[in-house]
Each structure stands twice: as C-alpha cells, then as structure tokens.
Symmetry: C2
Subunit: 697 residues, 2 copies
Amino acid sequence: MKSFLEPESVVLVGVSRRTGPGAYNNLEMLRRFGWEGRAYVVNPSGAEILGERTWRNVEDLPETPELAVISVGREAVPGALAACLQKGTRRAIVISQGFADADERGRALQRELASMANRAGARLLGPNTMGVFNAFAAFSTAFLDLPRPARPFGLSLAAQSGVFQVGPAQFIGPLGKVLDVGNMADVDFVDAIACFEADVETEVIALYMETAARGPELLRAIERASRRKPVVVLKSGRSAAGARAAVSHTGSLAGEDAAFDAAFERAGAVRVRSIPELRSACRGLLAWNPPLAGPRIGVFTATGAAGILAADACADQELTLAPFPEPLGRALASPKMDWYRLQNPADVWPLMMGSGDFVGFFRRTVEHFAADEQVDGMLGIMVCMDSPLHADQDLLAAARAASEANPARKPVALWLYGSGAERLSKAINEARIPGTACFPDPDAALAALRASLLCRDRSRRPPEPAPSPAEPKATLPPGSLVMGPRAERFVEAYGVRVAPSALCTTEADAVEAAERIGFPVVMKIVSDDWAHKSDRGGVEADLRDAAAVRAAFGRLEAAFRRHTPEARLDGILVQRREAGVELLVGFRRDPQFGPVVVLGAGGIHTETLRDAVREIAPVGIERATAMIDRLRIAPLLGGARGRPPADRATIARTVAAVSTLALAHPEVAEIDLNPVMAGPDGCTAVDVRIVRGERSA
Amino acid sequence: MKSFLEPESVVLVGVSRRTGPGAYNNLEMLRRFGWEGRAYVVNPSGAEILGERTWRNVEDLPETPELAVISVGREAVPGALAACLQKGTRRAIVISQGFADADERGRALQRELASMANRAGARLLGPNTMGVFNAFAAFSTAFLDLPRPARPFGLSLAAQSGVFQVGPAQFIGPLGKVLDVGNMADVDFVDAIACFEADVETEVIALYMETAARGPELLRAIERASRRKPVVVLKSGRSAAGARAAVSHTGSLAGEDAAFDAAFERAGAVRVRSIPELRSACRGLLAWNPPLAGPRIGVFTATGAAGILAADACADQELTLAPFPEPLGRALASPKMDWYRLQNPADVWPLMMGSGDFVGFFRRTVEHFAADEQVDGMLGIMVCMDSPLHADQDLLAAARAASEANPARKPVALWLYGSGAERLSKAINEARIPGTACFPDPDAALAALRASLLCRDRSRRPPEPAPSPAEPKATLPPGSLVMGPRAERFVEAYGVRVAPSALCTTEADAVEAAERIGFPVVMKIVSDDWAHKSDRGGVEADLRDAAAVRAAFGRLEAAFRRHTPEARLDGILVQRREAGVELLVGFRRDPQFGPVVVLGAGGIHTETLRDAVREIAPVGIERATAMIDRLRIAPLLGGARGRPPADRATIARTVAAVSTLALAHPEVAEIDLNPVMAGPDGCTAVDVRIVRGERSA
C-alpha cells in the first residue's frame, strides 16, 4: 500500500490541457500540494502542460512509474490500465466514475478492470475514487486545490468517498492520510486498515463506510488494529432512506444497520452516528494519550449556565460528575467571598475574576482536579475575548501551564466562548498541548471523552477464542418455512427446551393429549399457510379442562376453513401453557457478517418495545449472559414486583444454543423462538419458526 | 421594559477606579460598546474615571437617571438601591452576586431588594445578572468588552445567565437583544417575553431557562408570543446531576423536566436540548420566513457521501426525502454522461463539474426543487475552496441567484465544506439572503428545518378554550395516602370505572363476595402500610372458585402478619379479574405548572417501558385521544395480534376525568390508576392510589 501513499514516481493518464480556474487539472493540483516527485503526464496531444513535458503514450515513458492515476472517460479506462500494466506499473488508481456506481455496462467494465489487475499481480484503487491524500509525503491525487497542513496529525482515514480530504475541517478534522477506496473493485477496507495499523505515522484510524465487503476479514482487521490504535467508524445509510441512497451510490447492497452495530462493537471499533460526532471523536482521540480511564469528569467553568448544560451533556454520554476535590476548594477560596461554595461543576469565574491571575488560577484548577484519584478527566469552559482589555485571559499559556501541572495527562477537554474563542481553539489544537483538546460545544467535548473511554475499553478486551466449527446434530426438515413439531424437534437437538405438545387431528386426540400434558393448555393451528396465527384467531389460550379443549378444537377448525378454505391443515397443536416473561431468541444471517444472534422482549411486545440486543455469532454462555443485562426489560427477569427471578443460566444456554445451530446450519437463514417463556425453573420456547435459504427478514 | 433596554440616561454605582486590561470596568465597556448616552458614575473617591467626572453620591446627580446599574458588594446593595429610588430612578439592574444564589443571608437581602423596589413602584432586574445587551441601541451593561454587530439580527433572548451575550457565536448565534433575568427577584421571563413579543426589532424569541417561576403566567406569555414569533427554549438541568447543579446556581428549585416538556409544547414553544441545537434553530428561524411548510426535503450535494449522511439526518429529524422532481433531471442532464441518474439526494457534482457554470447550475437546481409542489424545503451541500483555481465556485453569488429563483422563499439550508467554507458560510449568513441559511453540519441544518416546521405548526394551532373551573363532585377521604375502596368511590364520582370489588374481613365474606362479583377474582391486602402490595405477596391473582378464594385468604392474612405484625389490616379486597392492555392513568401536581396528566403503559411494564405521555391540565377528550396515539404501545390498543381493539373513547374519557378531578381538588398531589385494563368494552381501573398534599413523586 506504500506505493499508493508515497510513490517514487507517478504517471497521470487523462490530464486536461486546460489549467487555471475551473479546469480541475490534477497535475496542477499535485504540484500546488507540494509534491516534488517525478510525475509523467500522458496526453494524446503531446503538448506541454504547465511547462511540463507530456507523453502521447505510456509506453514512451523513460521509466516504469510506481503508480498510475487514470482519469479518462469510462470506456477508455481498460485500455489505459492495460498500457500501464504493460509498462510494468503495479499500482493503479482509477479516478473515473460510471462503473458499479452507474449501470450494467459500468459493472461489466469494473469486473474487467479487477480481472486485469488481478492477472497482472497488480493492485487497483477505485474506480470512482478521489484516490489518496498524504499530507506527510505531500502527495495527493485530488482534482481540487487542497491546502496541505505544515505539521500533519496522525489521523488516517479509509473512506468510500473523497470528500473528507476536500473538507477535512468540516467532515472529520486534521487528516494526515486518506485512502478513498471508491467502488472497491480490488483494494478495500481490509487492505486499508492493515496498512494504517502498521503505519508509524498513523495514531488514529477512521473509517467512513457505506457498504461492507469481506465481512469476516473486515472484522478481523479491525480486531487486530483496535488493540493498537483507536478505530472510529462512521457508517452511513442508517435510515431506510439513507440505505436506498447507498445502493445507488456505491453499486452494492447496504447491510442491515443493526448488524453493523453488533459487528463493530464485537471487533472493537467505536461507531459514531454523524459528522459532528466523527469530528469530536477524532479530535479527542488524537489529543488524549493515555485515553480516558473512567467515566468521572470534573467540570470547571467561567459560567454557571454552561456548567449545568455540561452536566446534562455528561448524563447524555453516560459519564458522571466526579466528587468535588476539597483541596481545590481550599486552593481557590477567597476571604472576600466567604459565602461562595464550589462544587462540581465548579463555577470558578467569580473567584477567578477577583484573583487577578487568570493563568495561575486555571493551572491550579486543573492541577487539583487531575491530582484527585476520583477524577478521570476534565471539561473546562472558559471565556476568551479578543480585546486588549482582556489580555490577561491568555488561554494558550493557561492550557500549557495546566498540562504541565497534570503529569498523568488525564484528558482535558476545553470549550471556549467569546470573541477570541475560534482563534484560540484553533491555536490550542494546533499547538498539540499534551492531553488537551478544544471543542466547539460541550456536547462535542463530552462525546469525545465518551469515545476515548470506549476505545480504551475495547483495546483492553480479552482475546476472542477462535470460533470452533460446529457439527450439525440434526437435519433441517424440508420446506422454505419450517414450523410446528418438526421445527421443535430440530431445535431440541441443540438443547432448546420446547413446551410439551402434541399435533392432533381429531377432537378426541386433542382431549387425550391435553390430559397427558396436563392442564392448562393452549391450542394452535399448524399449517404452512398460517405463519401469523394469532391475527386470525388461530390460537386458543388457557384451556383448563376437557370441555374447553373440545370447544376450542371446533372453533379453530372453523376459523381455518373460513380464512383458508383451500389450504392444508397439518393439525391442531395442543401445548402446555407456560408462564414467565416473554422473550424472543433467534438469529438472522447477515450477508456480510454471518449469523446475528438476537435476544429481545417477545410475544405481543416484540414490535412495540423493540427491546433487542444483537451479537455476531459465535455467542458463548458468557456473552449471552451479558446480553440479558443489556435488555431494557432485564429488571423483569430479575424478579420485579414480587415475582421469582427468572433462571438466567437457561436463558443464556438457549441463546448460545441458537448460535451453535446457526454456525452448524448455513442453510438456515433465520430462526425465531418467540415467545420463549422465561421463569424461575428455566425457559421454554412455545413457538418456533425456521426460514431456510439466503432470504433475510 | 424599554427603560432597561434603551435608557436615556444611566447611573453606574460601583465602578472600579481601575481601567484597562483585567479591570473589568463597566463604564469602559459601555463606552467601547458604542453607547453615546449620558452615563453618571458614582464612586466614593470622587476621582475621574477615563476622563469622565464621577459623583460621590447618587443624590448629587444633576438629573434623575432613567436606569441604575449597581455592582457593589452584596451588603452595600440595599443602600445603593435606596439612594437610586430616593433620587426618583425607577429601573435598577443589580449585577452583584451573593443573594438567593448563595446562602440564607443572601436570600434575606434579595427579599429586601424586591420589597424596596415594589414599594417604590420600581422594577428590578437581577440580582446576579449581566444585565442587558442591546446591539440596536448600542447599550450593554456587561463588564466584558463585547463586540457590537454593525447590523444586528432580530434575535432576542431572555436568560438566567449573561454568558450568551459574552459568547453569542458559541452559545446561540447573532443576538440582537438580551435580558439576563438573573435571580428573578422582580423582572422575570413573563415580563421579558411580553417585551420581546411587542418589540418591532425582535423577530425570534429565545429563552434560556434553569428554573421557572409564575408557571401559568409564563405559559400564557409564551402562548401569546408564539402565535406571532417563533419561541425557542433551552431548558437546562435535564439530568438529575444537571438539576442538582441548577439548585445551587439559581437558588430555586428545578421543576421536573418532563413537566417542562409538556408545558412548552402546550404553550407553543419549541424546546431544544443542547447548545448546538439552540444555535441551529436560531439560525434557521431568523432566515426562513415563511417557515418550512411540511416535512419533504430536497437534498442536492457535491458529494454522494454527504447525501447519504443527510438522508440519515433527515430520518433522525422525522423529515422525509421529497420525490425527485423530473424537470430538474432534464434540466441538468449531460449527453456526455447519459448513464448518470439523479435522484434525491441529488449528487449533482459530476454534472456540475463538467458544466463550467457553477453559479447557473446551482441556481437551476434550487429553482426546480423550489418549483415542485412536493418539495417543502432544501438542503444544499456544496464545496467551496479558497483558491484562485476555484474562483468559479462563487457560493455567495450562487446563493443570491438561487434565492431569486425561489420566489416562494421555500427554506434553503446550506452546508459548505472545503477550505473556503467557514468564510463563505459567515458571509452568506451576514448577507441575509432571503430564505437562505448556512450551517456547520447536515445534522444542524436538518435540526433547524425541523424547528422551523414545529414553530409553524405551533403558531397555527387552534386557540385553547379557557379552562373552566371544576366543581368538586366528592370529598377526598382523610389520610395522606388514600387507597382501596375509599379511593375507588372517590374516583368513581368523576366517571372512572373501577373493577367491582368488596372489602372483606372474614373468609366467609370473601367467598360470598367472589360469588356475587363472579369468578375469576383477584384478592389484595388493603392497608395504609402496604402501598406496594405485590412485592410482598399481597396480591393473589386469578382465583377461579370458592376453594381458591379460601386458600388465598389464609395466605394473604399470613403474609400480612409475617411482614407487618404491628400494622392495621383494613381487610382483604376481593375484585373481579379484568382483562385487557394494562395502562397507567394519573397526574402529578407540578409546583410550577399545576397538574401534569399522564397516560402510559401500566402494570409490570410501567418502569421497564417508561412509555408515558404527559399533558398539562386541563385535558379534554380531544387532547386525551391524541395522547393515546403518541404511546409506543398504541398498536396494542389498536388490536394487534388478533385481539379486538380497545375502546379508545373510554380511555380518553378516563384521562379527561383525571384532569377534571385534578382541577377540582387542589388538595390532591398525585393520583395513580395503575393498572387500568383497557379492553374492547371499555377500561377499568383495578388499583387506585391518591396522595394528599403538596408532596410530589
């Protein structure tokens, strides 16, 4: 990948003869960016461009360029690539659009490019890409005039877009390197992450993703990288509308959003949801090393109002206000204001204003917060006016002094306000004061602290055991949708307990079965045509004696004939009525990440609560147990309102069994156990649905 | 209030002799702000300050100043105020701290100030305030050197803080006027809102609130104002930690946050939750007149990635992507890229770059989106580089041309990126191009569009009927906590249906009652000491015959004696078992806003779901019906999963009955009907708890 990011020499194929305003000439942009390496320009006219000699053909070049950058019309790209490969070049960037991002012809062309590169043992970045950006090596393939930072930050991005290097300040923050993977005909996120993991100039890895490819490899790459460096991901297409836009933008399908959530968390990346969150997280992750070690924040402020707003934002980010360090109170106390009490958030302004020592006051505040073992990090909110009358408010000096008084480098986030705030925030961030970062609002500051804490936790998680291949213990019955007793026997083979039942075809059978199983029972229509039984009167609940069973049998048969006169009735299921909290246990096979195991609130509350947690398989007992605690309805399982607590161990075993089944049966697309009744004596599935094949819900 | 915001003359009491850096001299700041009116300075030394004459005493002044600004130590404030009142001044701002924001002594001093002003027929702003800021009249009482905008915007703020005028760009945006109400000893939000409602220079009213006072008057003031001008509120202290900080900051109690939500919505204000949301909303509300008329947004972008992110942000804000206007597709099509398809979000860059006409292309895009009747507003995401090579990207000219091509002034939000983005965003916003506003990210842009739509809806809501005083229909039984049959009879007087029941003291009574009521029944312990019955085995459910009732009676008596041997058992309640969806209906009397009526998920899901909607009383049938639809569990009431739908009319009547009861009985602090069983034949309360007095949950 180094040949992409800092080539010795490059050939530009498809450079316009026009230069200057509105020409988008990428040779011109490369030179303005500061690159001083050898650039060969291929142009059929052979005329000079910007005073540089051009060549009519790649084969005429005096050497083999390490990298080719191709930006001709889509039909001309295969020919241009062939010429470069012929010349011996083994790295190519295809800037041009109109491939898998466009239509069938484009998809065919893209397959051709990938195949050509592959046969030649070459690597291809794109098509439909802005290419690379490397502020360290002063190399950029953009057709826009990008400013180059004099001292780049160690923030490296892999993205399905080139817009981040065009507007770094608006999209992400101070970028050092970018690989725009475009349509990912060859080079993709897996390659880019491995590259940045190994790169010594990269401190923080960011990903902008619209679609994923090579799911398992992607997760392994993130897994490895996130133990060494923070990995932050912005995955777009969260909303249905967003997902639609993604399909046409990148020419491949967007995965289900929840699967991405589960996958990123499992792999150790921190997912952000928006541009402001991405900017905040990157700023903090670059500045804070060591990262935030716990959730307890000390807040000091020049305005009480912002302290209250910061406390709100703290709670929003699941951070807490640290206990106020009493030594700080003593250090700042003023005899003239003996009625004034500091707490956390600490409104230090009235004391600071009277002290006549802005810088020293600021330093002492950070010093005492940082020295307190109950404080993990700080948020400082300070006024900063561009006026000679406020020359004492020297925030740059104050931040430097405070950093020296904080030898453990506990993270300090700053939010400045006032007429000098923008200028000083930029200056402090550019100054790279250890442990210090400025943010545009308290919400951004606390979101960054939260991201830092998450990255720390994920870098320290125990290593995952390698998933052991699961052996099938049963054969999936035929049919695209498997329900009823056949489905029940199948899941029982994996240790799932199912409510005792019998499939009956006569009223007498049903009564006999109910007496054998024990009252009360429920009865349900079993037919492939009745997937959603309860909506049409296909379930009779709480039948307490033989007479009730007989009456129910008649009603169910009548409902079946009325609603589906043509359908085949397999029978009426008589099943023991189970008590407990209704859960849902199941999985859905995601096209990118494989089985996504789900535990949630079940029964009639499945849709209204949407209380579900997801994990990528394999899910063992320990992980399954943790899933229980993440449910909103967890208190119900703990024995709320006088009920005995549910048996957590068997819930966890049921979740783990579904995971094992998912890995052993690639032919199963989805399983729903819903409801699973969780009570003190274990949990029991009362309805089982299995979807065969590649379909997803 | 005009005397506060633009006085003819002002006396400053407590100006320091020090001037220059670090002196925080408010005479110096007033002059630098540009005020040219008459300012008298009172200083005991009698020395000149900044070359201006000073007076030793207020009584020596040659005229009666219209306004006094007092910033002496707290113990000296009453004397200073007395001198000003004596001189005939009838408006005073007390900047000083250490009053209700501090301690008991401070509270006493504050009461004294309020009483002095009241006796003199004067008005007092503060104490603990930065005072006023009026960019139109070049008047500011800040002790900081604030820049004054040359052409102020019509954004007026009433706040319990002065920090907004110190850092407008960071906190809120381009402020025109501010009243910092401080501790609200006299002038409060009600006065400030009325002032801004009437003020011709005010276009948008913003409130920053930590605590409320005079709740009903406040809501009426917002009600009136929000029909004429957008009213946006940032209420802090949302989190428990935030609420704690609020108590000490302002010296008065924070109301329950949910009551504020209900109150602001009822009154017609739009509540924002954070500083970034406040900035976004104010920017949009200032720019867009008419406001956004519907949720359908057209998005055009110079980068596909941002289009997908904007679609996500659209969904987050409950806005939708408008259908793509086909005439726009024809207007922008390029024969050279016949494979390129536009949709919404419209990635126009590939066509725009080739067109050579950035400004015209931008204009045509807005023109066609705006002309489509299915488009309510637009978000444009555009690149903007500070480089002579991109001089064609003249966004200021483009935005002007687009505004002229959008005669209906449908709202246009812009997000610019690239090296010129910050400069151009500021320039476009300062240029006040009709219907056009720039934002720092797509989330901010869409949050602003959402706020505009909400403000429009609220300005058009039908007038509220005046609440009719409710006459009591029953007498509240004695006791601080009323439960059981006495509570049931009380709520029945207001039309609440309660499950048939009987309070029994012997086993034989219980069996007889159950047979009269009809099986199945439930039985419950009734005792003032057993408020949370089910946690201790105080409820027996689903008793189906006399033997079951007898056995249950014994178990309940034993449980009562075991847990509370000393307590008095009123009896055992035998009650019909009701079926249906479990709801909670009740109210809590908020100290600021009166009865807050609640409808929510009830029973065991009350706490886990936290699915509740709140309205300030009075709540009539129409409003109560709308509350049902806002519940997350609403689909269950509509008849999900084969159940018959619940009777919405009786749910609404029950909610309205609770509202009537709340207004008729100020001695009731709280009522919980939980659960209320809602079925097809109406809804029935099965447990009633009434709390007397001012206590709140």
